[in-house]
């Protein structure tokens, strides 16, 4: 985190209000994009808005590195009366991730929307995308439980609409199912927050945490806990509740694949970690029981079963989607260890997954101009005709499979280490088996793309330059963080500390 102190300075006036600007920037950009005169200008607004948000996230990172926590009271009302933004290392990590991926996705969108979105809807599409970004950023910044719900829904509603507006009609039922499951998840969350409010009389997470600690054993709190974790589990595609995800990712326009796979479920995971560790705290019996007896087994099952499912998919984006669910399993496995090592390893893996998955979806989306194909077999031999795009795809796949010298390897390593430290040998076995399965589906994709002869005369050309730039930035990041992982490791270690988990060894 210390890296941020010196480098990312902004005008003090701006830094003071960075927290709300982080959200308001993309919100204003969303309005502007909707009103802008042309597709091109909407795209530029979108890129500008996300870059602004990223800048603000960097400012906040500097502040957090200096002061630990940034508090911002809306309208000057201090909690518990007012709504507060409270940004700590965990929140900053997510804000950086979401806005960073947002910039990449916005750059990428300039060229692909033409291929995938009908004319006349493209400006609105950019607007919806920015709304989504604003919602997710708000989620990472807010310190208020109900406010979190509102931001969650702001981003979700944008997402539901954006998934459905594609050329593939199968996206429509997928979006509808996602809407139903997502709304139920969000409503469960509200119910849970209601229970907690009834028990504590506050909505501010920090206050809530303080009062819960003195409350002792309470049925109301326990019921609230159950509703919150299951509701967020639905949103985060926790293993048996992931039914909505594969179709939604696979059939959505590629911009949504790129952005959602990196951020949407991750944001729900963020909120879940926030509630598990900050609001409730692992010292509470029922939290510990939940982590050990629900989250860990479910995560392990996800890592294995969904990896196995991914092997048998014929649609290439569905392979990636099932792999996403499996990776959520890895992350949750780390989180459920409830140790500093485990949580930081899980967050590190989350960071890498965000880079990898958006790179992979980006590579596939970049080819959308050339081949109107989704089946794996349609990609036979594409590696020969589109080497730049597919090499980036291959790098992403290597990282996904955890090949050494890529970021994916490091985070799996950290997870294994954390599992050893927690004496969860079964978890080591789960990671090992699931890694093997991961190699099989990764190998299957690469084998088809690079080693098979093209199936048809229709040759898939290279993705456009505007797509290659963000794609290679992400791919290069996967390799760079495989060599020098200090940034994500610092971020995730600081984030785990912000959750109140002290590392066993020396402080970083």
């Amino acid at each position: 985190m210390n890296a941020f102190i010196d480098f990312y300075a902004a005008p003090p006036g701006l830094t003071a209000h960075a927290a709300p600007l982080l959200v308001i920037g993309p919100l204003i950009a969303a309005c502007a994009a909707a009103l802008s005169p042309s597709t091109r200008s909407a795209w530029m607004i979108s890129v500008g808005g996300t870059i602004f948000a990223f800048w603000m996230a960097l400012c906040l990172a500097g502040e957090v590195a200096r002061n630990g926590v940034v508090n911002y009271y809306m309208g000057g009302f201090a909690p518990p009366l007012g709504i507060a933004f409270r940004i700590d290392a965990l929140g900053v990590m997510f804000a950086l991730l979401i806005s960073g991926i947002g910039v990449m996705a916005a750059l990428f969108s300039g060229h692909t929307l033409e291929a995938e979105i009908m004319k006349g809807k493209r400006r609105l599409y950019q607007s919806g995308f920015l709304l989504c970004v604003a919602g997710l950023l708000g989620l990472s910044a807010t310190g208020d439980a109900f406010n979190a719900f509102v931001f969650l829904e702001v981003s979700s509603i944008g997402t539901y609409a954006l998934i459905g507006v594609g050329v593939d009609r199968r996206a429509l039922p997928a979006a509808f199912n996602y809407l139903v499951m997502g709304t139920i998840g969000a409503t469960f969350f509200v119910i849970g927050v209601g229970f907690l409010y009834a028990a504590t009389g506050t909505l501010n997470m920090a206050d809530m945490s303080g009062r819960l600690a003195t409350l002792g054993d309470s049925r109301v709190v326990e019921a609230g806990f159950a509703f919150i974790v299951i509701g967020l589990g639905l949103k985060a595609a926790m293993f048996p509740l992931h039914g909505w995800l594969p179709a939604a990712y696979a059939y959505a326009p590629s911009l949504m694949g790129v952005f959602l796979s990196a951020t949407a479920t991750k944001a729900a995971l963020y909120l879940m970690a926030r509630f598990l560790f900050t609001v409730f705290g692992p010292h509470l019996d029922f939290v510990g029981l939940f982590l050990t007896w629900v989250m860990a087994p479910v995560a392990g099952a996800a890592a294995i079963i969904c990896s196995a499912q991914a092997i048998f998919q014929t649609d290439i984006r569905r392979i990636l989607a099932f792999s996403s669910v499996a990776q959520v399993g890895y992350i949750m496995l780390g989180v459920s260890m409830a140790s500093a090592e485990g949580v930081s390893a899980g967050l590190f893996h989350l960071f890498n997954q965000a880079l990898i998955k958006s790179a992979l979806f980006m590579a596939l989306g970049g080819l959308a101009f050339n081949i109107k194909a989704t089946k794996l077999s349609d990609f036979s031999g594409v590696g020969r005709t589109a080497p730049w795009t597919m090499t980036a795809f291959a790098i992403g796949t290597f990282s996904l499979a955890g090949v050494p010298l890529t970021a994916g390897f490091l985070s799996k390593w950290r997870l294994i280490e954390a599992a050893f430290a927690a004496h969860w040998l079964w978890a080591v076995g789960v990671i090992a088996v699931s890694s093997l399965l991961g190699l099989i589906y990764a190998g299957r994709m690469l084998e088809t793309i690079f080693f098979r002869a093209p199936v048809s005369e229709e040759r898939a050309g290279e993705a456009r330059f505007g797509v290659l730039v963000p794609l290679w930035i992400l791919a290069a990041a996967s390799v760079w963080y495989g060599l020098d992982a200090s940034l994500p490791v610092d971020l995730s270690t600081a984030a785990a500390q912000a959750l109140g988990l002290a590392p066993a060894g020396a402080a970083p």
Binding site: S377, I440, Y441, A453
Partner: protein, 126 residues
């Protein structure tokens, strides 16, 4: 040495068998091996060599480990027996363990080197 000719050649322009198409280096280096004289004398020559090597033990003092390797011509006899054992065990073991070529059903019936494109699309494991 029997000279058999079959039509199955990878060479697209088969040439008549025999000495005519032989590489000059081969004539120089190896053609003597096919002579009748070599055929008759080889075993005898080899036997003589072995006898000389055995006899040399009388002249050259051999270091040994003090076990059965101090027996005369130990390494020669051991080498002979070991070689014979390895080769002869090929008969029963072969009967026990040899299976038809396509035992694992992994070979196409046609050309052994045909490429993947001709295979069924889902014909690989994984």
């Amino acid at each position: 040495m029997t000279e058999t000719r079959s039509g199955e050649q990878n060479d697209p322009h088969p040439q008549p068998a025999g000495e005519a198409d032989e590489h000059p280096l081969s004539v120089l280096l190896f053609s003597w091996m096919r002579s009748d004289l070599f055929d008759r004398m080889f075993l005898a020559g080899l036997g003589a060599l072995c006898a000389v090597l055995a006899a040399l033990e009388l002249v050259i003092h051999r270091h040994d480990g003090g076990g059965i390797d101090s027996l005369p011509v130990f390494q020669g006899v051991f080498g002979f027996l070991a070689f014979a054992l390895a080769v002869l065990s090929g008969w029963p073991l072969g009967r026990l363990m040899r299976r038809p070529e396509n035992y694992y059903r992994d070979q196409p019936d046609k050309d052994p080197d045909n490429t993947v494109e001709e295979e069924k699309e889902d014909g690989h494991d994984g």
